[in-house]
């Protein structure tokens, strides 16, 4: 028997939440965007009027303002969006326990077992849509299909506030004429390769000899061919399934350009402290430290180093990151954003080989110190205890990566 999978997508999520709370925004072009002064400046979401004016998600604020000079920009309020995301999941969870999030505003729900209680799949989808609109005041579009990939295409097919059902009978009419770029995991680079093979629609991809795709794209060719033919059989994960973390990192775009090692040092320590706190929270230690750099021309690269011992101390992480910066960055072009990432993670209790030349007592003292600092910060806020160096340039050090960055991009292949 075929599965019944819904893909629910909150329409222009951030903008809808803002419009709900501010009725005055509903009849003017409005967009939620990053902080203009701090230069985190892109459009995150926009309402229908802004969309008509040509504003697109992801473009820089100044670009959007050129297209639409009377555009009203609103700062994002992530805690409010998380609250809505949670409330909408509460509604979904009345229909199934198999709910898999894909970012903050999208989920797949596997209702194979429960759909008979509520009618046809489309009736169930319409019921959920009505409830979300009535109870939360925002709209969703839902795709109904027998696999996750087509369900996602369905929720994109017609929006806002609509249901699209893709069955084996109508998939060739609905899915196949769509441009290949709409298929999950076809980005700009893959699309280009596919165009060279004469593949412009999902139908082209479905009907080509799979061996040709595989020769050109490797195992991804296989995946895409199966996706296009509706043979995706990846399961919808049970609620709260946590995939094994592979890396923990933070990055930030700085309020002013970084011109020397001292600038970098301040930001690096803030990032390292956040990364260390998150490692400790997840009960993990890391052995590989990497840095990511983007200069004012938006050119970027990463460098990494493997430590002799795994660690979750912010001092160790920051020191390793600073070594990497010293060796690899010459500041001929100032930097706009930097990041610190840890990987090669293992569980904290994993026994480690001690060596004779490291002062383990000192190490234990730093560990105790950092744990104490974490407790203080937990209770009194991140800014309650700080390194003295943060005071040298409050502009650079005044951000809290641990709390401000709660929304992460997600991968489709979990577990």
């Amino acid at each position: 028997m075929d599965r019944v999978i819904l893909h629910c997508d909150l329409n222009s999520f951030y903008a809808s939440v803002e419009c709900l709370h501010h009725p005055e925004y509903r009849n003017i072009p409005m967009a939620v965007g990053g902080d203009v002064e701090k230069r985190h400046g892109i459009i995150l979401a926009k309402n229908q009027l802004a969309k008509k004016a040509g504003v697109t998600t992801g473009e820089a604020l100044w670009q959007a303002l050129q297209k639409c000079p009377n555009l009203v920009l609103v700062k994002p309020n992530f805690s409010q969006y998380l609250r809505f995301s949670r409330m909408v999941r509460e509604i979904y969870s009345e229909y199934s326990d198999k709910i898999e999030s894909f970012g903050i505003d999208e989920v797949w729900i596997d209702v194979t077992e429960s759909v008979h209680l509520f009618g046809t799949p489309k009736e169930l989808a319409d019921m959920i849509r009505e409830r979300v609109k009535l109870e939360l005041g925002v709209t969703i579009s839902i795709g109904v299909s027998f696999n996750k990939v087509f369900a996602k295409l369905g929720s994109d097919y017609k929006k806002p506030d609509a249901t699209t059902e893709i069955t084996r009978a109508n998939m060739e009419q609905i899915v196949w004429p769509l441009p290949i770029e709409d298929l999950l995991y076809v980005g700009r680079a893959t699309a280009q390769k596919l165009h060279l093979l004469g593949i412009y629609t999902i139908g082209d991809c479905a009907t080509i000899e799979p061996a040709v795709l595989k020769r050109r794209l490797g195992k991804w060719g296989d995946y895409l061919w199966r996706f296009a033919n509706g043979m995706d059989n990846s399961p919808v994960m049970v609620q709260n399934f946590e995939p094994m973390v592979k890396s923990i990192g933070n990055s930030t775009t700085c309020p002013r350009d970084l011109r020397n090692l001292q600038d970098v040092k301040i930001v690096t320590y803030v990032l390292a402290e956040s990364v260390a706190a998150r490692l400790k929270e997840a009960h993990l230690v890391a052995q590989v430290i990497s840095i990511g750099v983007r200069d004012i021309n938006l050119k970027g690269y990463t460098r990494q180093i493997k430590l002799s011992q795994p660690t979750h101390l912010s001092d160790d992480i920051a020191q390793a990151a600073m070594d990497l910066f010293e060796k690899n960055v010459d500041f001929s072009t100032p930097l706009r954003s930097i990041g610190v990432k840890t990987s090669d993670l293992s569980v904290m209790e994993t026994p480690i080989q001690l060596d004779l030349f490291t002062d383990q007592k000192a190490h234990q003292r730093s560990l105790d110190l950092e744990n104490t600092l974490d407790v203080i910060r937990e209770r009194y806020g991140f800014g309650s205890v700080q390194r003295l160096m943060m005071k040298e340039d409050p502009l650079l050090s005044q951000f809290n990566p641990k709390q401000e960055h709660v929304i992460f991009p997600e991968s489709y292949f979990k577990g």
Binding site: L20, H21, H22, P23, M87, E135, L136, G137
Partner: protein, 80 residues
């Protein structure tokens, strides 16, 4: 245009943990008692802008919506 007005509310908490609003206290101190609550549901207020648990209350013979948004109560005002 309708406005969102936060109000003080006098509540009754029963031993099952349920709450029931008894009266609304207006900003000028005037207290309006709630005669009965006919419906409790999660709902959005599109006219005032917000979402929460909506109590349909009868106050002086008239039905009014009273919303509990997180930990604050508001009503939809018809005034300009």
């Amino acid at each position: 245009m309708a406005k969102k007005i936060y109000v003080d509310v006098i509540l009754h908490h029963n031993k099952e943990g349920q709450i029931k609003p008894l009266a609304i206290v207006w900003a000028n101190g005037v207290k309006y008692s709630i005669d009965k609550v006919t419906q409790i549901t999660r709902a959005a207020s599109t006219i005032a802008g917000g979402t929460g648990i909506r109590y349909t209350c009868y106050i002086q013979g008239q039905a009014r919506y009273l919303f509990l948004e997180e930990d604050r109560w508001f009503i939809e005002s018809k005034g300009n």
